[in-house]
C-alpha cells in the first residue's frame, strides 16, 4: 500500500522513475492503486479546501 501511495504521489507531481513504473505494472492488484488514488485525491481536495477557508478568513 505504501508503495502504491508513493506512486500516486509521483503521478500527482507528474514525475516517475521508469524502473518504478515497470515495477508497479508487474503488480497483480490494480485495486491497491485505485484505492491509493482515491485516498490521496480526497486528502488533496480537503487540503485545498482548508487553504481556501483559511485564506477567506
Amino acid at each position: 500500500m505504501w508503495q502504491a501511495i508513493k506512486s500516486v504521489l509521483a503521478a500527482f507531481l507528474g514525475v516517475q522513475k521508469d524502473e518504478r513504473r515497470r515495477e508497479d505494472f508487474r503488480s497483480e492488484r490494480p485495486g491497491t492503486f485505485i484505492a491509493a488514488g482515491l485516498i490521496v485525491g480526497v486528502i488533496f481536495v480537503l487540503l485545498v479546501a482548508f487553504v481556501a477557508v483559511m485564506a477567506a478568513r
Binding site: L13, G14, V15, Q16, K17, D18, A55, A56
Partner: protein
C-alpha cells in the same frame, strides 16, 4: 565579444521598448483606485516573471539549437530520463505559481468585499443604454450615447470621445466606497471602466455586486463588454468623479428636478412642448430600433411613420409603450421613462414624420394609468 555585443543590443532594445509600450496605452491603465493599482502592480510583477522565464527557456532552447546543430557534428544523447532534473523543473514552476497566487488572492479578497459602502448605486443594462438608480435617494436616470449620428455615419468628423460619451454620466463622490449592484432588463451586458478596474456582468434576473472608491476627480470612460445585440458598441459608460461637496450639490439638484418633473405631470401640456420633449426622448431611447425617421427596420422593428393602424388605436399605442410587447424586443418603459416622457414620446410619434393624428397624450393621463396599474 561579438556575442556579448549582440546580447547587449537585444537588452537595450527591450529596455527602450518597455516605456514606449507603457506610454502608448497598449498596457492596461494603472487606474485611479487602490484596487486598480493593486491589479496593475500584480499584472506588472507577473508580466516580468513571465518575461524572465520566457528569456531563460527560449534562450536555452535557441542556444541549444544553434550550438548543437547537426552541421557542427552534434550527436543526440540517448538517455531516457533524469528524475532529479524533472523534479526540479516541476517544483520550481510550482513554487512560482504559489508565490503569485498569494498576493493575487489577497487582492481578490478586497475586490469581492462590497460591505460597508457609503453609497449604493443600482446599475441596469438595457438594450442599449445604462440606467443608474441611487438607492434610497429617489434619483434615477438613463445614460444614453450622445455621439451624433453624423459622426457615426461618417458625414462629419469624429470627436475625441467618439462613442465614449453620454448625455448623463454616472456621478460619484471621490473618496467614498460606492457599492454597485448590477443587473439587466434584457440580455447579458457587462459594465466596464478600465480606469476603475471594474468589469462586471449585468445578468437579467441576478444582481451582481462590485464596488469602487475613486481617489481622483475626473471623467472615466468605458464600454459594455458583453456582446448584447445590434447596438452593443453604442452603450458606453461614463463616470464623473467629483468632490463629495459637489456630489451633494448635484444630488440636491437632481432631487429638485425630479420633483418638478413629477409636479409638471399634473398640468395640461401643449402640442408643441410635448413634440419638443418627445423628439428628445425618441432620439435618445427609441431611434436605435425604430430609426430617427420612424421607418423602423421591418420586419424586426416595425415602422411608426405611416403606421395607420397605430394612429387609429391611441389606446394600444399607449399600452405598447407602457408595457412593451412580451416576447419581443420592444421593452416596457413603465419604469424607465417618466409620465411626461412617455406622454411626450407618444405624442411625438403620432405627429411626426407625416403622421397626423393631431391629438396629444397628456402626462396626467399616463400618470393615472400607471397609478391604476400599481394598484
Amino acid at each position: 565579444m561579438r556575442r556579448l555585443l549582440m546580447w547587449m543590443a537585444v537588452g537595450v532594445t527591450l529596455a527602450a521598448l518597455t516605456p514606449m509600450v507603457l506610454a502608448n496605452g497598449w498596457n492596461m491603465p494603472e487606474g485611479v483606485t487602490a484596487v486598480s493599482r493593486d491589479i496593475y502592480s500584480l499584472h506588472m510583477i507577473i508580466f516580468w516573471i513571465c518575461v524572465v522565464i520566457g528569456v531563460i527557456v527560449f534562450g536555452a532552447m535557441f542556444y541549444s539549437l544553434f550550438r548543437y546543430r547537426h552541421s557542427r557534428g552534434a550527436k543526440a544523447a540517448t538517455f531516457h530520463e533524469h528524475t532529479s532534473v524533472e523534479v526540479i523543473w516541476t517544483a520550481i514552476p510550482l513554487l512560482i505559481l504559489v508565490a503569485m497566487a498569494v498576493p493575487a488572492t489577497a487582492t481578490l479578497k478586497t475586490m469581492y468585499d462590497p460591505s460597508e459602502a457609503d453609497l449604493d448605486v443600482m446599475v441596469t443594462g438595457q438594450q442599449w443604454r445604462w440606467r443608474y438608480d441611487y438607492l434610497g435617494e429617489d434619483v434615477a436616470f438613463t445614460s444614453n450615447l450622445s455621439t451624433s449620428r453624423e459622426q457615426i455615419s461618417g458625414t462629419s468628423e469624429k470627436g475625441e470621445n467618439y462613442l465614449l460619451e453620454v448625455d448623463e454620466p454616472l456621478v460619484l463622490p471621490v473618496g467614498q466606497k460606492v457599492r454597485l449592484l448590477l443587473t439587466s432588463d434584457d440580455v447579458i451586458h457587462s459594465w466596464w471602466v478600465p480606469e476603475l478596474a471594474v468589469k462586471q456582468d449585468a445578468v437579467p434576473g441576478f444582481v451582481n455586486e462590485n464596488w469602487v472608491r475613486i481617489d481622483e476627480p475626473g471623467i472615466y470612460r468605458g464600454q459594455c463588454a458583453e456582446l448584447c445585440g445590434r447596438n452593443h458598441g453604442f452603450m458606453p459608460v461614463v463616470v464623473e468623479a467629483v468632490e463629495p461637496e459637489r456630489f451633494d450639490e448635484w444630488m440636491a439638484q437632481r432631487k429638485e428636478a425630479a420633483q418638478q418633473e413629477a409636479m409638471s405631470a399634473d398640468r395640461e401640456w401643449g402640442l408643441d412642448e410635448l413634440m419638443a420633449r418627445g423628439e428628445q426622448t425618441y432620439g435618445a431611447v427609441c431611434a436605435a430600433c425604430h430609426q430617427p425617421d420612424g421607418s423602423g427596420s421591418p420586419p424586426a422593428f416595425p415602422a411608426l411613420a405611416g403606421n395607420q393602424t397605430l394612429l387609429d388605436e391611441p389606446d394600444r399605442h399607449i399600452s405598447t409603450v407602457i408595457d412593451g410587447v412580451a416576447g419581443s424586443a420592444m421593452p416596457a418603459f413603465r419604469n424607465t421613462l417618466s409620465p411626461v416622457e412617455i406622454a411626450a414620446v407618444i405624442t411625438y410619434e403620432r405627429n411626426a414624420w407625416g403622421n397626423e393624428a393631431g391629438d396629444t397624450v397628456q402626462p396626467s393621463e399616463i400618470a393615472e394609468r400607471l397609478a391604476a396599474q400599481d394598484e
